[in-house]
Every structure is written in structure tokens, then in C-alpha cells.
Symmetry: C2
Subunit: 208 residues, 2 copies
Amino acid sequence: MDLFEAIRTRRSHRTFERREVEPEKIGAILDAAHWAPSPANSQPWEFILVTGEKSRRRLYELSEQAKKTGRVEVRGFSYVRPLPQGVAEESGEDVALRQYSLAFLKNVPVIIGVVGLPVSPTQQRGQETYDSYKYSCGAVIENILLAATALGLGSLWFTLFNQQLLRQFLGVDPSKHLVALVCIGYPAISAPDPGRLPLETKVRRLEI
Amino acid sequence: MDLFEAIRTRRSHRTFERREVEPEKIGAILDAAHWAPSPANSQPWEFILVTGEKSRRRLYELSEQAKKTGRVEVRGFSYVRPLPQGVAEESGEDVALRQYSLAFLKNVPVIIGVVGLPVSPTQQRGQETYDSYKYSCGAVIENILLAATALGLGSLWFTLFNQQLLRQFLGVDPSKHLVALVCIGYPAISAPDPGRLPLETKVRRLEI
């Protein structure tokens, strides 16, 4: 598929067919992920491939558990307080989080855990602000989503999970960071186009 | 261009022809950038388009200045101490940084400043760990690099600059984060293929 078509037609899918994804397609997606750019080609990422029904169900249970106790992360943001009991107290984000159904996780044919590796040569200086792996993992995930799109698959960049619980389940060392679970499968329904703000509101030309 | 070809043939270019980049190609690249995914379609990014010779030269001067004083950032890592004077004291990274020539900046036809917007609805909770914009900006930059590749252009994900100096020059509000300068132009020479570690060293299958 043409690059620009892949970029423009990628959508967030949550409803998948039961059909398995062909191993060669999974291989092509992982290869595309691995060709993302990184500082000095440091390749600060790893992948965990999850396909079994038992493991999918466990991922669902762990995510539900995290949601109920309010200890979840949304792309690096941690909800550390329990979700409010009373509706009157709930913010829009609380409501959205509570109502966000995770049941689809049980039926995702392929889940790719993307793990970021914060360690790099320059980090030996003892700085703690080194987070280049996050940008690189963003590029990695975009490659996964685009590759899936080009292969006729639907995908979802999923981050609504508890870092500690899932790290333990997936066997991720505490020195590493579980960045996302990317869900992949044949879409059962079409996903909406959320649109974008007008491009001109996002671009400024430097005039000097 | 086919998506997978773009992903596999993207390279880091530092030597460009003097030829200008057509405005419609710049537009297509910015549009591709803007179609990156983000949490709840929050689109936490902005772009600054830099094309003038005067501004390129100023970017070069500011980057050289930052390099000499050792106050530069490399993808989120800050070098906060001055570079050592004596060669014996220099680490491999210091040498690499000192020897890294920035002269190419003066001849880059197009530079796109990618600005991340850390503010989001969920951030109202006062958490400071919210950094989802970094992942989204990684996806944005990958789209820029891939779009440039597909249009026959070379590109470079450049981050060797001082955040404060460049923010001031480019007019970026302190509440925002200048994530990268993406350099774009027609490549004057071919760029090397840095290769990747074997994919199988990066992938693990969850067995349960």
C-alpha cells in the first residue's frame, strides 16, 4: 500500500474477527517496527508477542483489575487515586475511564508488547532525564500501526494498563518500560475517522 | 511509494543539494505528520517551518554555540557540564559530540521544528509524569521521515541543540517542548545503511 494512503487510512480498531493473523504478516509487522529510527541506531526496544487465548484473557483480567482500583497508566500518565465512587465527584476523564470497556482484549488475535530500553551509552553520566527511547518507541509503534494498515489489518495503540502488574505477567525487567500493547487483527467493523484540526492551525512559518 | 519500501529505505541524510523543496511536497509532509495517532486524538503537536537562508544560518550558529559550551540536548538527555578540555578526560560520547560537525545545518533547504504540547485534559490532576506527547511526537516525526523518503527527499532527525536558546529563537512558549528539528532536502549523496540487530534478538513470544 502507498505510504500516504496507509497514514491517512490508519484507524483505532477495537472489534476484530476471530480469524488468526498469518505468521508472515506478523513477521512483516515486527520487521517494520524494528526499522524505526533511533539515536546512533541504538535500537532501544524489544517486542513481546502475545497470541494465545489464555494469555489474552489474563491481559484482560489484569487490565480490568487495574481499572477498578484506579491504578492504571494512560500513555505515561498514572492515575494514582482510586476512581471516585459518586458520580457527582467524577471528572470527565473518570467517567471516560470507567465506561471504557476492555472486553475486546479477550478477542484480539495478536498483541505486541512494545518495551522501551532506557539504558544507553550516554546514560552512564547518571542523568535521569534521558528519555530518547520514548520518541523512538513512538516511531516503532507508528510503523506497527502503518504496517498493519497496509496488510489489511486493524490495530489499536493500547496503554490503559498497570505497569507493575503487566511487567510481572509479561516478564519485563524493572529496568525496562512497557510502553504499549499494540492490538492487531482483521477488523470486524469499520472504525470512525476522527478527523484532525485544520493543518494551518498547527503550522507556523518562521519569518526572519 | 510502498509503505514497507519507505520504512526500509529511510536513511539519515546530512548532505543536501541546494535545490529548493517544492511547496506542495512540504505540504504533503506536514499533512502526513498531522495524521499521526495521539491519545483521544488530542494532537499534542505544532510545527515551525524554517526555510530562509538567514534563519538556517542562525540555527547553525546557535547549535555551534550550544555545542561549544556543552549545553546541548540529545533527544531529551542534557549535557549539563562543559565538555572537558583535555583529551585524556574525554569520554567516547564527548569526542563524538565535539567531532560532530553542524556545518550541514547552513545548507538544509527545509527544517521542520516539531513542538510537543505537554498539556492535556488529564494533566489537570497535577501529575507531572504525563508524557504521552513524547510518544505521539515520535510517531509524528516518523511520518515526516517516511513521507520525505516517499517523495524522493532525504531527512535527518536532529536534536543536538540547546532547548532554551532555540525556544527563544523560534518563539516557542516555555510551556511547550521543542522536540526535534527535522532537516529535509534533496540528498546530494547516498546515506549508509546502518543495519539492525537480528530481529530474533528483539522478539520474545509469551508462552502460557
